[in-house]
Symmetry: C2
Subunit: 367 residues, 2 copies
C-alpha cells in the first residue's frame, strides 16, 4: 500500500479519474467513494434530495427499486414509475409524470438493470427530462464503460458506476460522475450525509486526495483496467460487448431458451433467460450442478424472479471465446439434467454470429 | 473474484467474522461494510441516533472531531467533550457530563487517536458509562487487534475498526462489532440510512451473504491477516506492538525528540512526535527529503498540528527489525538536514529496550 496523502497516490487518483472521464465521455468531476455501487446510489440520493422533496424514480427491476427505497429512507417523496420486471421504460411515461408533477426537479433512472437484463434507451429518456430542464441521475453501475453512454452529450447530471463491473477491477469503489448542476443542487439539498458528501469529496480530489482512506488496491486494479480499455479503444470495447452478447443470445435461442428482456432492450452486459426447468427447485438444482460439476457460476433470479430465470454476465474481460465456452457448458449442463435432448447447436449459432459480425461490424449505438 | 452469493464467499465471510470476533474478544455480531473506517463511524451514528437526540462525543483529536461532525450532520444534539489535541480523556469529565445531561443515552469515544498518538483508558471510561447504564460506541479503527480491547469484558456496545490497520489488509472494509443493546437501539433510531443499515446487514450476514457487493479482494487479504495473527497468538501480537512502540519511543527520546502524547497515554500503534524543525516549512522539507532520499514515508500533523508534529505508524506487519530501520533512517534524515549533529544513538536505545523486554516480558494491559 502507498501513503494516500502522497505524490504516488495523487498520480494514481489522477490516472483513474482521467480514464473514467474518457470512458464516460465527460468533463464532469468523477468522485470516488470507498463503497459498492449501492453506496454511489445512496450518495446520489443524499446529495441531491431534501426530506419531503418529490422525486421521480424510474425503475425496471431490483436495483431500481432499491434506489427508490433508499430515496424514501432519506425522506424523499418518491413518485415511482416501476415497470413490470422484464420490461423497459417508455419515455412517454416519464413525460406524462413530469407533466402531472410539476414540482419534481430530479429524475432518477436505471440505465442497465442487472436483475432483469433490460437496458433503457437513455438518449430518448434524457431528451425528455432535459427538455423540461430537470436534473437526471443515472444508475449505470453495470453499464457505462461497457455500453456507450456519452454522459456530456446526453446531459446526464449524475452517473453512478462500480469498479467490479466493466472496469475489470475488484469490488470496493463507487464512481460518481457529477456535473455542475448536480453539484449546485447538492449545495441546497438537505438530506444528511458526511461520508458520501459530494462537495467534501470534490474539495479533496481537487488537491489530488480523497477525503477518507481510499481502497488503494482496488484503484491500482482500476488503473490497469482502464489502461487495457484504452489499448483496445472505447468503440472496440463496446463492439466486443455487443458481439459477445449477440453470440450468447443467438446460442441460447438456438437451443430453445427464451430471453427475458424484450427485443431492442436486451443488455449487452448481462442476459436474463427464462429457466427451462419446471420449478424453482429444479432451476436451483441445474444451476448448482453447473457450478459444482463444470465450475460455471451463473446467477439465478432476484426477488420475484427467484427460480424463474437465470442470468449470464458478460462484461469486462469476457470475449468471444468465453462466449463459446459459456454456451457449450450451459448446453451440456441442461443435457445432463434431461432438460435438453441433444447438444451442439448453441455454439454453432454463436459461430454464425461471429462470422457475420466479424465481416460487417456495426456501429455501436447508444444503449 | 468469486460469486458473492455462493458457497465460497460464505466460507470467506464466516472465516473473517470468526477471526474478528476472536481478535476483538467478542461474541457480538461483526458487521462488514464496503467502506473506509469513517464509513463505520457514520454507520454507528446513523444507526444509533435520532435527529435532536443528545449524544456525548468524547474527542481527543481529528478523528474524534470528525465523528462529532458526522453525528451533527445527522441532526444529533452533540455534547462535545473535546480535549486539547495531545491530551487523553479523563473519565471524571465523562462522569460529570453524564450527570449534568441525564437525557444522554449514548456515549461515543475514540479509543486510539491516529492524529495525536493518544490512547484512552477504555477500561476506566467504559466502567463510568456502563455504571450509568448508557450505551458506549468506540472508534477503535487503528486500535483493536493491535491493542488489547476486550469488547465483551468491557461491555462495549459498538466497536469500529478498518481493514487497513492492524489487520494487515488493504483499505476498503469497515468492520463494526455491534452488541444486542446496540442492535435494539438501532431499531428505534430514526436517522436515515440504507447502505449502512445494521439490521439489513445482519440479516444478510446471518445467511452468510452481505447486503451489497462486498470488497472481495480486501476480504481475502483480511482472511490471511487474521490467519497470521492466529499463528502469532493474540497476546503476542499485542506484546510485539508494545515492544516495537517502546523501541520507537526510546530511540526518538535518545536523540532529543519530544513525544507529543503524555506518558501513560502513548499509543502502541502510532507515535506522534514534536518536529525538531523550527517552522512548518522546514518540517515539510525534512519529511519530504526522508521520503525522496530514503523511501521512508512518515505522516505529518493533521489540521491544527500541520507542520508541528510528525507521526510514525507501527502497526500490523511491523516488527523489531523494522523499528531499528525506521529509527536509523529518521536519525540519518535529521542529520542530513542539520537538525542533528551526530548519529548512532537512536538504534542503541532501541536495542537496550529490546534486550530488556525480551528477557522480562510484561503482561499486556488494556490500552
Amino acid at each position: 500500500m502507498i501513503n494516500h496523502r502522497g505524490p504516488e497516490f495523487a498520480a494514481l487518483l489522477s490516472d483513474c479519474v482521467e480514464g473514467l472521464r474518457w470512458a464516460m465521455q465527460t468533463d464532469n468531476d468523477v468522485l470516488l467513494f470507498p463503497a459498492s455501487g449501492t453506496g454511489g446510489l445512496e450518495a446520489t440520493a443524499a446529495n441531491l434530495l431534501s426530506p419531503g422533496e418529490k422525486v421521480l424514480l424510474c425503475s425496471v427491476g431490483s436495483f431500481g427499486e432499491r434506489w427508490a427505497d433508499i430515496a424514501a429512507a432519506y425522506g424523499a417523496d418518491v413518485v415511482r414509475l416501476a415497470m413490470p420486471w422484464g420490461e423497459a421504460l417508455d419515455p412517454e411515461d416519464i413525460e406524462r409524470l413530469l407533466a402531472e408533477n410539476p414540482s419534481i426537479e430530479k429524475v432518477f433512472v436505471t440505465h442497465n438493470e442487472t436483475s432483469t437484463g433490460v437496458v433503457n434507451d437513455m438518449r430518448a429518456i434524457a431528451a425528455v427530462v432535459k427538455s423540461r430542464g430537470k436534473l437526471i441521475a443515472v444508475d449505470s453501475v453495470s453499464g457505462v464503460g461497457s455500453l456507450p453512454l456519452p454522459v456530456d452529450e446526453l446531459g446526464l447530471d449524475v452517473v453512478v458506476t462500480g469498479s467490479q463491473k466493466g472496469w475489470m477491477a475488484p469490488p470496493g469503489l463507487a464512481m460518481v460522475a457529477a456535473g455542475k448542476a448536480a453539484l449546485a443542487a447538492a449545495e441546497s439539498a438537505r438530506c444528511p450525509r458526511w461520508y458520501f458528501d459530494f462537495a467534501r469529496q470534490k474539495k479533496f480530489q481537487d488537491k489530488q486526495q480523497t477525503y477518507t482512506t481510499p481502497p488503494v488496491s482496488v484503484m491500482f486494479a482500476l488503473q490497469e483496467g482502464l489502461a487495457i480499455m484504452r489499448e483496445e479503444g472505447l468503440e472496440n470495447v463496446w463492439a466486443r460487448h455487443r458481439r459477445v452478447a449477440d453470440m450468447i443470445r443467438a446460442g441460447l435461442g438456438a437451443i430453445g431458451l427464451r430471453l427475458f428482456a424484450p427485443e431492442g432492450h436486451r443488455s449487452d452486459t448481462v442476459t436474463a433467460v427464462h429457466s427451462p426447468a419446471t420449478s424453482p427447485d429444479d432451476t436451483k438444482a441445474w444451476l448448482t450442478a453447473l457450478r459444482t460439476r463444470y465450475g460455471l457460476v451463473l446467477a439465478g433470479g432476484q426477488g420475484q424472479l427467484q427460480g424463474k430465470i437465470f442470468r449470464v454476465g458478460h462484461l469486462g474481460m469476457v470475449d468471444e471465446r468465453d462466449a463459446y465456452s459459456i454456451l457449450a457448458t450451459i448446453e451440456q449442463g441442461l443435457y445432463d439434467q434431461g432438460l435438453l435432448s441433444r447438444v451442439g447447436f448453441a455454439v454453432a449459432a454463436a459461430q454464425a454470429v461471429l462470422r457475420q459480425e466479424a465481416t460487417t461490424p456495426e456501429p455501436a449505438a447508444v444503449g
